[in-house]
């Protein structure tokens, strides 16, 4: 490994750890300043003063803030995300139960966005100013502008009700993988369409910028085919901003697909977090959000490290150059 790359890797790992630490601190602080009595919310009218007091004690909310902070950090350090005070289940167990649904939906949506958005972006860039370019621009902006849950309702009406091709509910009753796959089609499309438009616009812009670079002109002067120049030399560099955005997108979708999860009645981290926030179920909020933060940070670390693999001109550490520089 190049010393600069090793140094860069080390610094990114330290930054990653600091980001996770900062997120944990922020999470802890927010959990403590949000108004609302968790015992009253969790227990409803059954919350007698004695029972509320005991529940507050079980949640550790009667302890001084520095002790709670220490417990939170030390538990997380040992891989213990805490216990859901309502069910007595481990928070990690609750997260693990819904995480596969979230991961499957997030990555399938991103994958669909990539395999659709990139070709559309390339086509638009290579046909700049054409009718198709304008139509694609219109469609892309429309996809970006219309919220995913609205698209979801339309998809359900068309494909589940009118055509009766696909089911409404986003999960199967039992462990039937084929049925599970069918039920994931509509949520995936609903979640990915906005990203299709976004990636198509981004790739088009990046491609047009790259196509104006000196090395592309030189390639053309050497007589290389337009196909080779577009797909081998231009696309590689044009993809770097897209990869950055995808990294952010995955993080956002991990906890932010809550509306799609609700519309398709599909389990997921977003719904878990949303429900826990509504109930002031602090251990679950903290544990689930922390998992989202860690996955998000790790994905973006991988994205950062992938730059040098995609573009060898990028050097890390001293004398680093930006993408394409």
């Amino acid at each position: 490994m190049h010393p600069d790359t090793a140094r860069y890797l080390a610094s990114r790992l330290v930054t990653t750890a600091l980001i996770v630490f900062g997120a944990m601190l922020l999470l802890f602080t927010l959990s403590n300043i949000v108004p609302g009595d968790p015992a009253a919310i969790l227990l409803g009218p059954q919350a007698t003063p004695e029972y509320s007091k005991r529940m507050i004690s079980e949640m550790g909310l009667d302890q001084p803030i520095y002790i709670r902070l220490w417990r939170f950090f030390s538990n997380v350090a040992t891989g213990n995300l805490g216990i859901d005070i309502v069910s007595g289940r481990s928070v990690w167990g609750m997260v693990a139960a819904v995480l596969p649904y979230t991961i499957a939906l997030t990555f399938s949506a991103i994958l669909l966005a990539v395999i659709t958005g990139i070709p559309l972006g390339i086509f638009a860039a290579t046909h700049r100013g054409s009718v198709m370019d304008n139509i694609l621009a219109f469609i892309s902006v429309a996809f970006i502008a219309v919220p995913g849950f609205v698209i979801a309702i339309f998809l359900l009406l068309i494909f589940a009700i009118w055509l009766n091709w696909l089911p409404v509910l986003g999960t199967s009753r039992s462990g039937d993988w084929l049925d599970e796959f069918r039920r994931m089609i509509l949520p995936t499309i609903a979640l990915s369409l906005g990203w299709v438009g976004f990636i198509a616009r981004l790739v088009r812009t990046s491609m047009l910028e790259v196509m104006g670079e000196n090395y592309i002109r030189t390639s053309r002067a050497y007589g290389l085919s337009e196909r080779l120049i577009t797909y081998k030399y231009a696309l590689k560099n044009a993809c770097i901003p897209t990869i950055t955005i995808l990294g952010l997108g995955i993080g956002r979708l991990l906890g932010g697909a809550v509306l799609i999860e609700i519309v398709f009645a599909r389990p997921g981290l977003g719904r878990l977090i949303y429900g826990a926030i509504s109930e002031r179920n602090y251990p679950v909020v903290q544990g689930a959000v922390l998992v989202v933060v860690v996955v998000f940070v790790l994905v973006n670390l991988i994205v950062d490290l992938s730059y040098s693999a995609i573009d060898p001109r990028i050097r890390h550490g001293s004398g680093a150059q930006g993408a394409g520089g």
Binding site: P35, A40, A47, T48, V86, S87, V98, I262, A265, S278
Partner: protein, 521 residues
Amino acid sequence: MGNKLSRRRVLVTGAGVAAAAGVGWPWVALAQSGAATRPLLTVRSAADFDLIDPAHRRGPTDGNVMRVVYQRLMQPKPNSADIELDAASEVKQVSPTIIDFKLKPGQMFTDGFGEMTADDVKFSFERIGLPPVAGAKESAYKGDWLYLVGVEVKGKYEGRITLSQPRANIYDVVIADGSGCIVSKKAVEQRGTEFGLKPVGSGQYQVVSLDKQKGAVLRRNPAYKGARRGAFEEINVRVITDAKTTDLALRAGELDFAILSPTGADPLRGTAGLTVSDQPAIFYAWLGMNMEKGPLADLRVRQAIRLGVDVDQMLLAGYNGKVPRLNTALPPQIMGHWKEAPVYKRNVAEARALLAAAGQSNLKLRLTILNQPEFQNMALVAKALLAEIGVTVDVDAQPGGTYWSSGKADVGKNLELYMSRFNAKHDPNFVLQWFTPGQIGEWNWSRWNSAEFDGLFKAAGSETDPAKRRVMVLDMQKAMDKTSAFVWLTNEASALVHKSWLKPASVPGWGDWQYADFSAS
């Protein structure tokens, strides 16, 4: 519908089923089930599950599954508030504080946990009603078994429940309800905190899977020996929080049954293959006033506000007028409902006069509500109406997390006007328990401190003569009316949407479902 339970009825029912048991009740059970079995029933649950454990359940969603997984000594008849024997062959009220029971032999718990005995009944009731032992977690439903002294095991199948005081509602809201579910002692001890996720009962169905956010799959319990064998091989309870998704799933045929608001069910009326019926509920909503807070401590101000609002207009805005108006705390389905309660009409002139007499001009009040559309719409109408009598209302719509704390402890002292909605059961004491002085700082957000009400509440809770109890319950509602601190709004309504071939079953009030009694008509 009134509450028809009496001690005599319990004894008669007990004797009848005991006679059936004498000629071999399992065969009677099969003959009674009648309906042909279908493979699958899929129903919607609007909320998520927590724990299918009678001692640690969290609400009606858990309760609906509990009712098919566990047996009770007695249970409500399908679509009725009347109760009949379930796991018991006999339940006998020996005295106002002593109840003897005798279990049917041969009732087996699932997962190989053996036969149900009186020891399981003792364990099930005492783990809720008595202080926890050996580090066990205290039940949030301890209040259900108020006055429980203990359960004495008199034989393998026989036992005695002893109370320290008579309980009028011991059958309706305890023995025949969630806190009366009988669990396997061995299973609870063996499974510990996992028990609520892997419940062991002897009811019509057993839990195959229970997934958060997804739902529960229940399969017929082949060992069930009771009289009400379910009509479906499998019941799939799907957690679907969104009403629109529910609508689409019903249209697509993926759901057989769901509850929606009457407005939410409108687009489904007339859909081929679906039946929609509106049913009055027993949830009760009201506009409340904090009787300790500033000008609201003056009766005339409270009376002015009650005369300043128009309940019918508010219901039109909140529920498109599709819910019944409520004029007293108890909905008509509950015993002791005050049928002749005054129906207050809006009277701007009188309201203004009352405010003037109270020396109030330019009165400003904050109305705290839950940020749900129906409350927001009703609050906006109330704000406009009260402006006409000279009261400026600032509507404070809060999310559930904050709202449900806003009347509690010291924070509750600052509450002014509020709008609330509680769930109910078919018992007046259950409905009225939140308005006692002991609930100030908890759920008595009007901070109404009435010794008269408290005395009546306690007396009614112990009164086993229905006629005498009814009079007490009426007096409680009249006392509430005198305060002018409660403007009753509605007991709401539920729209039952289901496949036309399906016949749903519920305890009237349409919140406590009896999935095992759903049948194909």
